[in-house]
């Protein structure tokens, strides 16, 4: 990886060769599609079946949208396109546990942003509705081996539901992975919310309490709404329908214990209060914590509550000037050491691709390489209830995987092949296309 120099034409010619090979091998209709299904056989690779479970010289067979076989002695099916991957590694696709991917296009243009609905209490909004499958950010993200992400709404106390999406598809429904949907709650915060937040500590405290009261009122009403709704369902003739309240309708699955509740909280007092709140409201079993920038301060409380945490973004300075400079990088490790289940989130839109480097930094700052990989593969798959579908390279799971010429968390490593739901996708995006056009611009200085 740290070789002094690398001849550039290699990459271009490798891409060309591959392109020509594919062109020759494919039926005409597939040539115009950016992705196509196999069957494929990936041979002689080091297969990272799961973090900490590596198979040398293994073969992976992909058929339709799934992994058909994995093992040292798997034979290549006669109808499969085979890739000799000697010296390369196959990893399960990575999962980012918190993004705005698909919900925003250009940061400064509100008309291109769909994650902030108006109002504090909009629990009936669904992020999946607004996912743009054609956003320029999807191909930019997935070429780094990131095959699925949580995309979430933002504004207010109860902004709506987040969804797990796979990064290939032409409709939001095609992208929706395992039907994973959960309600998000921004827990009222006692933290300062940005450089322009010049509220006094007293004002922050007051506003946080006010927001918490608002949340409690709503939740109590929602619980009542759910009881009435259930009673009506039991005796439709004897009861009157309650007035339709969309936000409360949106909360029904959470109140009834059918849907996870993700609470976003970062300041230590917010996290403690959120855990107490969830216990009082009887939703602790459904709880997922997100953010947790100061989770290390209350790691034992989180561990005792047995609540999984989606940590991040960790690539930031600590939340207090008095904290050690690398505290945010170390948060995943400190939580893990306390016994907390940890997944990583980038918190990004256009730079979700940096999740791999976030994982690298978490690994370097105490978490270790295997745990860091778990935090972007098996652990989120388990937290979101889709461990039977994604997170490892095992027969029967979705073919969400990629091939790299080294450790994919290292910047110098290149991803060589990418499969999502069995579709082999080109490693192309706006960034690579501009590179190909402009590295040696023609005409150059003189026309």
């Amino acid at each position: 990886m740290l070789s002094p120099s690398r001849p550039r034409p290699q990459r271009v010619s490798a891409v060309l060769t591959l392109f020509v090979a594919l062109f020759l091998a494919l039926p005409a209709h597939a040539q115009k599609q950016p992705g196509f299904q196999g069957p494929f056989a990936l041979t002689n690779a080091q297969v990272i079946v799961a973090p900490g479970d590596t198979l040398d010289g293994g073969t992976v067979v992909i058929r339709d949208d799934s992994i058909a076989a994995v093992g040292p002695n798997v034979s290549v099916p006669s109808d499969a396109q085979a890739f000799d991957l000697s010296g390369q590694r196959i990893y399960p696709g990575f999962i980012d546990s918190g993004t705005h991917l698909g919900l925003a296009e250009v940061g400064s243009l509100p008309e291109t942003q769909d994650f902030n609905e108006i109002g504090d209490l909009t629990a009936h909004m669904n992020a999946l509705t607004a996912v743009n499958p054609s956003t320029v950010h999807v191909p930019t993200t997935r070429v780094h081996g990131i095959t699925s992400v949580i995309t979430e709404p933002e504004n207010g106390i109860l902004p709506g539901t987040a969804a797990l999406i796979g990064l290939h598809g032409y409709t939001p429904e095609q992208m929706h992975l395992g039907g994973v949907t959960f309600t998000k709650l921004n827990f009222p915060s006692v933290g300062r919310q940005g450089p322009s937040d010049d509220r006094s500590p007293e004002t922050i405290q007051k506003e946080s309490e006010k927001a918490l009261n608002k949340l409690n009122e709503l939740w109590t009403e929602a619980e009542r709404y759910a009881r009435i709704d259930s009673a009506v369902a039991e005796q439709p003739e004897a009861r009157r329908q309650p007035e339709f309240v969309p936000a409360m309708e949106g909360l029904l699955p959470v109140i009834r214990g059918e849907q996870s509740l993700m609470i976003s909280a970062n300041a230590a007092p917010d996290i403690s209060k959120a855990l107490d709140w969830a216990e009082e409201r009887g939703v602790l079993d459904q709880l997922i914590l997100s953010g947790a920038l100061e989770g290390w301060r209350v790691a034992d409380e989180i561990a005792a509550a047995d609540v999984p945490v989606l940590v991040g973004s960790i690539m930031q300075p600590p939340s207090r000037e008095s904290d050690r400079y690398d505290k945010a990088y170390r948060t995943p490790a400190l939580l893990h050491e306390a016994g907390v289940t940890v997944a990583l989130r980038s918190g990004k839109t256009e730079n979700v691709r940096n999740l791999v480097f976030h994982a690298g930094f978490a690994a370097a700052h105490g978490l270790g390489k295997t745990e860091a990989l778990r935090a972007i593969t098996t652990t989120p798959a388990e937290i979101f209830g889709v461990a039977d579908q994604v997170g490892t390279i095992e027969a029967g799971k979705r073919a969400n995987l990629f091939v790299a010429n080294g450790d994919p968390l290292q910047p110098a490593t290149d991803v060589q092949h990418l499969f999502i739901d069995g579709y082999k996708l080109p490693l192309e995006n706006r960034a690579t296309k501009l590179y190909d056009e402009f590295l040696n611009r023609n005409p150059g200085l003189e026309k």
């Binding site: 940061g107 300075p317 690398d326 918190g347 480097f357």
Partner: protein, 475 residues
């Protein structure tokens, strides 16, 4: 008389006098490292000199804060401390060509041309961001005026001597003066959309700059005419025009915020007309489109300091590529990588490493982007930017190769003084305590995203209902 004093009192006075003598003004101004040595022998490291290859098991001898010798098997003269760096990597202290930390004001957003102001007047040595940058191997930063005005204020090149409390001691001696210019959405958003004033377009930006430079030319001519006796009285003094005259003379280097290829070409044309040779573009997301033109500008080419992979945060960076730095470097443009936003300055080595994924740059090429190249852009490459004898002993020591994602900074030296020590430094490195002690979630996930939007600079202003708010950055 003295003998009349009781002996205890006189000895107490003597002790007090001794304390006053020992506590020299210099020490009193450095709360952390007042008596720290600046003579060192760093031993058995992999030395990444950047300009002269890599030395395995290399030693660096530091005397009086400068690099005295680089080689192998050097021995420590008496009185010189040694640091065993076996298994570790030493690179030149990282140089950040675009930052807004350590200043208490950023934008004098009250006029299209504000060359008379300078951030050197508002340096804040207490900013914990300086220490956090050191903890990422950064030793020099170009702290800049914002991008509100087509011609903004002067910037300041500082050495990260965290611990000193006199703001002037942050300044890098002999660093050339620099000034901020800004093109595109930020000035047109602030003046055009925000205030219905010129410039509302990229055409307007050109004319604001041409007009100001022409006025400066006439001001210089009038002064000259006065000196030669052709004119009875000198022109009315204008600090603004004095500074711009410095730009025309080449004494003050122009550092220009700009994104789109067309506006970069525009400024190069303007500067050719005015005979201005020194030009570094900042951000330059579309620099890759005109890399040959940038390389061909003037005598030495126009420099470009870019983000590793930031894009899409506003429309003028929507058609971007993370391969920008690599395309520029491969086309002979002097390129560097910066992080701009206070708080982001900790991981420049990772940002440089990304050019190995985006464009397969070699280790040396990648390291140049955060060392010697920004040094050249700031005109300080004779003092810093590489590990060479006689340069300042600004050094960053890492546990692994600095381009590995798994590396951790171990120690950072500025002028031979250890200003960051992974092992020894306590967690709390504040120089003074904020009695309110709030939890600052400024950079926290989504709330950070909101903050980030404001940080987009004045282009964001039209989306805010509460008037002009300018943040400590100017993407």
């Amino acid at each position: 008389m003295l003998s009349a004093f009781p002996s205890r009192l006189s000895s107490a006075l003597g002790a007090l006098a001794a304390v006053l003598l020992v506590a020299s003004p210099l020490q009193a101004q450095d709360q952390l490292r007042g008596d720290a040595p600046d003579d060192w022998l760093i031993q058995d490291a992999t030395v990444l000199t950047v300009t002269n290859g890599t030395i395995e098991n290399g030693d660096i001898l530091v005397r009086d804060g400068n690099i005295a010798e680089v080689g192998t098997d050097l021995s420590a003269p008496s009185g010189v401390e040694t640091y065993d760096a076996s298994g570790e990597y030493v690179m030149p202290g990282i140089i950040e060509a675009h930052q807004h930390m350590a200043i208490s004001n950023v934008n004098e957003a009250t006029n299209q041309v504000t060359a008379e102001v300078g951030v050197g007047d508002v340096l804040n040595p207490y900013d914990i961001g300086i220490y956090r940058a050191l903890a990422g191997g950064v030793t020099t930063a170009h702290v800049m005026h914002g991008s509100a005005n087509p011609i903004g204020g002067r910037n300041e090149t500082i050495k990260l001597r965290y611990g000193v409390t006199n703001p002037d001691r942050l300044k890098m001696d002999d660093a050339p003066r620099t000034i901020k210019f800004a093109l595109g959405e930020n000035p047109t958003g602030l003046y055009g959309e925000g205030r219905n004033q010129v410039p509302g377009t990229r055409m307007g930006v050109e004319q604001v700059i041409r007009t100001a430079l022409t006025e400066a030319e006439r001001y210089m001519e009038a002064k000259q005419a006065h000196q030669s006796g052709e004119r009875a009285r000198p022109p009315a003094h204008s600090e603004r025009l004095e500074v711009l005259a410095g730009v025309l003379r080449g004494d003050i280097l122009v550092q220009t915020h700009g994104y789109r290829a067309d506006e970069l070409l525009m400024l190069m044309n303007v500067f050719e007309d005015f005979g201005i040779q020194d030009l570094v573009f900042h951000h330059v997301n579309e620099g890759f489109k005109i890399a040959p033109e940038l390389a061909a500008f003037g005598d030495d080419g126009a420099g470009a300091t870019v983000f590793s992979d930031w894009w899409s945060y506003k429309f003028e960076v929507y058609y971007s590529t993370a391969y920008n730095a690599a395309i520029l470097a491969e086309n002979g443009v002097n390129a560097s990588i910066n992080t701009d936003i206070p708080g982001e300055q900790r991981d420049l080595y990772l940002q440089a490493a990304k050019t190995q994924r985006y464009g397969d740059l070699s280790d040396t090429q990648a390291l140049e982007l955060i060392t010697i190249n920004p040094a050249r852009q700031l005109g300080i490459d004779d003092r810093v930017g590489s590990i060479e004898e006689r340069k300042a002993a600004d050094l960053a020591i890492f546990s692994e190769h600095p381009l590995s994602v798994y590396t951790e900074p171990q120690r950072t030296y500025v002028d031979g003084v250890v200003r960051f020590d992974h092992e020894e430094d306590p967690d709390d490195m504040r120089l003074r305590v904020d009695p309110e002690g709030t939890v600052d979630l400024a950079r926290d996930g989504w709330s950070r995203h909101a903050a980030h939007s404001c940080l987009k600079g004045v282009a964001q202003l039209r989306a805010t209902r509460n008037g002009v708010t300018l943040e400590n950055a100017d993407q």
